[in-house]
């Protein structure tokens, strides 16, 4: 497992509990809001689908921004946002080994079975 987005210093407020105090004293202008991945359900009955990412200070702002950035034309009825640092992903360099177990099991597909043409409704 590899972290999808390696850099998670985006919203580096200092360690957990320091919170706002840290910000006002640090005085750095180099503080990016954290990065969020946005998932949108385009209509009832469909899955949420990844549509892109954006920066926001917190989850609520991420949802509001996602509405403005990704649903200006009624593209969605539900929005998920996940801070990018929490996304874990498989490593493309290991793809071969990772998916290898499925490669030699053609019998998992219906087309593997050679049956007479007269056989219907199956």
């Amino acid at each position: 497992m590899k972290q999808y987005i390696k850099k998670y210093y985006y919203g580096d407020y200092g360690e957990g509990k320091n919170g706002a105090a840290d910000i006002s004293t640090s005085g750095s202008s180099k503080q990016e809001w954290p990065l969020w991945e946005v998932f949108i359900r385009s209509k009832q009955g469909l899955d949420h689908k990844h549509v892109g990412s954006l920066h926001a200070a917190d989850a609520q702002m991420a949802i509001e921004n996602a509405r403005d950035v990704y649903t200006r034309r009624n593209e969605g009825i539900s929005i998920w946002v996940v801070e990018s640092k929490y996304i874990h992903a498989s490593n493309p360099d290991e793809a071969e080994a990772l998916y290898d177990p499925a490669n030699d099991k053609a019998y998992r597909h219906p087309t593997f079975y050679d049956l007479p043409d007269e056989l219907t409704h199956i």
Partner: protein, 314 residues
């Protein structure tokens, strides 16, 4: 080993397999994409400024609502593109810094002033038209996040061009002063729009490698010709003229011939000496600096709420 990876990479490209953020890629590919995508993003963001000038001056509520929606789309396009560039390992703030310091370029077209309402029409028809011509092939560009961003952009861009043409059409059917205004806007925007396709192929050193990597699918000159051919027909509906005495149908080539482009002007504008370069950059920097307290306040508020939540949980 490095060589091997590069061969494999090119094979993937040749087989039309998209490259995704975590895949191995040559450093030069990454750099080229960062440059191109961030320039593209900057262009969308700076591109809001010439039109922003006319939001409060739109002739009626319908036009105003449309222009607002268009400018908002451009902000959105900038954001799609910035996040696509970020997947290549550059941060948003770095990109802003490059724009504000003048290190990064954006489309030269946005350094021209918008002098009349008809400019909103000419920008929509010509500038957005040229942008679409460039952007449609980018929907199939080899880098996945860029291609996906471009699909969204292209979907939204079509209304931009249509509303522009509609503005010009309305003016062209108006009184003499309105017709003159429309013609004047076309006269001023035509050549800069033609230049938007970039330097001629033999002077565009990046094109060959970009074509090989399928970042670009057509050369600057191919796209420019296509654009000229289309506009030369569309202008007839407006009953106005394109300001090029050499514009003529060439039966043999099956294309319109057109006059020489003033490349000196193009390079001057790129180098920062266009009519509005300074104004545009100043506006961006001002927005960034004056927005700082908002960014800081939002961060502080988020941090405070996070602490409160933690306390509650504990």
């Amino acid at each position: 080993m490095e060589k091997n990876l590069e061969v494999l990479f090119q094979e993937k490209i040749d087989k039309e397999i998209r490259i995704e953020p975590k895949d191995w890629m040559p450093e030069k590919y990454r750099q080229t994409l960062i440059r191109q995508i961030s320039q593209h993003a900057h262009s969308e963001i700076v591109g809001m400024l010439p039109e922003g000038n006319w939001i409060t001056r739109a002739p009626n509520l319908r036009r105003k609502a449309i222009l607002l929606a268009k400018v908002q789309d451009e902000a959105g396009h900038g954001l799609y593109l910035y996040s696509a560039a970020e997947t290549l390992g550059i941060s948003r703030d770095e990109m802003y810094e490059q724009l504000h310091s003048g290190k990064a370029k954006y489309s030269s077209i946005f350094n021209y002033p918008t002098l009349s309402w008809a400019d909103m029409g000419a920008i929509g028809w010509l500038v957005d038209g040229a942008a679409i011509m460039n952007q449609v092939p980018l929907c199939r560009t080899s880098y996945g996040p860029y291609a996906r961003a471009m699909v969204r952009v292209c979907k939204e861009e079509s209304f931009h061009q249509r509303q522009g043409f509609e503005i010009l059409l309305t003016l062209s059917r108006g009184n003499e002063a309105q017709r003159r205004m429309a013609q004047d806007a076309i006269n001023r925007w035509w050549w800069p729009s033609i230049m938007m396709f970039g330097p001629k192929d033999d002077e565009s050193p990046n094109t060959i490698q970009s074509m090989k990597w399928k970042i670009k699918r057509f050369t600057n000159d191919e796209l420019r010709q296509k654009f000229v051919d289309i506009c030369a027909e569309q202008i007839k509906i407006l009953n106005l003229t394109i300001p090029d005495p050499d514009l003529k149908w060439n039966e043999e080539r099956g294309h319109y011939d057109f006059g020489a482009i003033n490349w000196d002007e193009f390079w001057q504008v790129i180098a920062g000496n266009g009519p509005c370069n300074k104004q545009r950059l100043d506006a961006r920097k001002k927005a960034w600096e004056e927005g700082k307290w908002v960014r800081d306040a939002a961060s502080a508020y988020a941090a405070k709420r996070a602490v409160r939540k933690e306390v509650k949980v504990a």
